[in-house]
Amino acid sequence: MSAHTHNPTGHDHSGSAHGAHAHGELAMGHHHVSTPELFRNVLLVLLVLTAITVGVSRIDFGGANMLIAMAIASVKASLVIAFFMHLKWDTGINKIVFLSAFLFLSLLFIFTLGDQATRRLDHEMHATKAGVDKQWVQPPPAGKH
C-alpha cells in the first residue's frame, strides 16, 4: 500500500515524519505513525470489498457462497487488524496474544462443524445400514414395528 514511516527498532532515526514528534519517541519508546494516505487507501479497499460482498451474494455459487463471503470478510478483518489497529507494527508478544485468539477459535469451529458434518454422515450410514440389515436380519414381528 502507500508509503508509511516505520521504525520497528524503537531507536530514533532521521526520518522526516519523525522530526515533528521525536519527543514522543523518547517518551513512549514506540512510534509508528501511519500516513493519512495509508489509512485512506485501507478505507477505500474496505468499502470496495463491502460492495463486492453484496455483489457476490446475488450470485448462486451453491455451497461456495459461504466460503466466498467469509474469505472476503477475513481479508477485510486482516486489513483492519494490520493497519487500523497497527498490529503490523506492534510487538511480537501482542501479535501472538491477539492472533492466538483466532487459532483457538478455529479449534471451536473445526470441532463444532466437524460434529455437524459427521452427524449427516452418521445419518447416511444408518440409512445404508438399515438397507443392508433388511436383507440379513429377520424383520421384527408384525404389529411391533
Binding site: G29, P36, V80, F104, Q116
Partner: protein, 244 residues
C-alpha cells in the same frame, strides 16, 4: 528516566496547550507503562474475540442444521440498512485511526474533530439499528417486550416469536434465526455504545490537553476497542443480512 520509587516519572508536554503526564507509580519507565497497558488490552481484545466466537460457532452450527431457516430469516432483514451501517462503521473506523494519529502527532483540534466524527458514526449506527429492531418488533419476529416471556404453550412458540405475517411458517424453527440475530447484534450494539462513551471520555481528556506525542496511550487503546467493534460487524453483515 529510571525511577527509584520516590520520584515520579513525568513526560513533559510538547506545547503550552498540553499537560505533562506522570506515569503510574508502579512503573519505572513510560515505555514499560505503555507496553504493559498495550499487552493487557490485547489480552482483553482476545477475550472479546472468544466471546463473539462462541456466538459465531452457534450461528454456523444452526446455519448448517437449518440452512433454509437462515436464508428465509435473512430475507426479513433490510440488507440496504445493513450495508449502510457497514459503511458507517468502516468510515468511523477510519476517523478513529485518524484521531489516534492526530493524538500521536500532537494535533489537539484534529484529535477532537476525528473523535467527534467517530461518535457521530456510532450515533448513526445505533439510530439505524433502532429502526431495524422496531421493524422486527412490529412484525412479531422479535417482540422485545416479551423477550423474557419463556415458552408460550398456546402458540407452541417462544413468547417473543409471534411472526404476525407468517413469513417463517414454511421453515423449521423460524425463531432460531431471530434469536441469533438479536443476540449477536445486541451484544455488538452494547459494544458500540460503550465504545462511543469511551471516545467521549477521550475527547474530554483531549480537550484538557492530556494527549500528545509523549502520551497518547488511552487514545490508542480506545481506538483498538473501536476497531474491534468494526471487526465483528465485518463478519455479522454478510452472515445476517446476506445469509449465504
Amino acid at each position: 528516566m529510571s525511577h527509584d520509587g520516590h520520584h515520579a516519572v513525568t513526560i513533559p508536554a510538547p506545547g503550552p496547550e498540553f499537560v505533562p503526564h506522570t506515569i503510574a507509580h508502579h512503573f519505572d519507565t513510560p515505555v514499560q507503562e505503555f507496553q504493559s497497558a498495550k499487552l493487557g488490552f490485547w489480552l482483553f481484545l482476545a477475550t472479546e474475540i472468544l466471546l463473539f466466537g462462541g456466538l459465531f460457532a452457534a450461528y454456523f452450527f444452526y446455519h448448517e442444521q437449518y440452512p433454509e431457516t437462515f436464508r428465509q430469516g435473512g430475507r426479513q432483514l433490510d440488507w440496504v440498512l445493513g450495508a449502510c451501517n457497514t459503511t458507517v462503521l468502516l468510515v468511523s473506523s477510519w476517523t478513529m485511526a485518524m484521531g489516534v494519529r492526530a493524538a500521536q502527532t500532537s494535533q489537539k483540534q484534529k484529535t477532537l474533530l476525528y473523535c467527534g466524527l467517530t461518535v457521530l458514526g456510532a450515533a448513526i449506527f445505533m439510530i439505524i439499528k433502532f429502526f431495524e429492531y422496531k421493524a422486527k418488533n412490529d412484525h412479531g419476529l422479535f417482540v422485545f417486550t416479551d423477550m423474557f416471556g419463556g415458552y408460550d404453550t398456546a402458540s407452541g412458540q417462544l413468547s417473543w416469536f409471534k411472526d404476525y405475517d407468517g413469513v417463517m411458517a414454511n421453515v423449521p424453527h423460524g425463531h432460531l434465526f431471530f434469536a441469533i440475530y438479536v443476540t449477536m447484534t445486541a451484544i455488538h450494539g452494547i459494544h458500540v455504545l460503550v465504545g462511543a462513551g469511551l471516545i467521549i471520555w477521550i475527547m474530554k481528556g483531549a480537550a484538557k490537553g492530556r494527549f500528545h506525542s509523549g502520551y497518547y496511550l488511552p487514545v490508542d487503546l480506545v481506538g483498538l476497542y473501536w476497531h474491534l467493534v468494526d471487526l465483528i460487524w465485518i463478519f455479522l453483515f454478510p452472515l445476517l443480512y446476506l445469509v449465504p
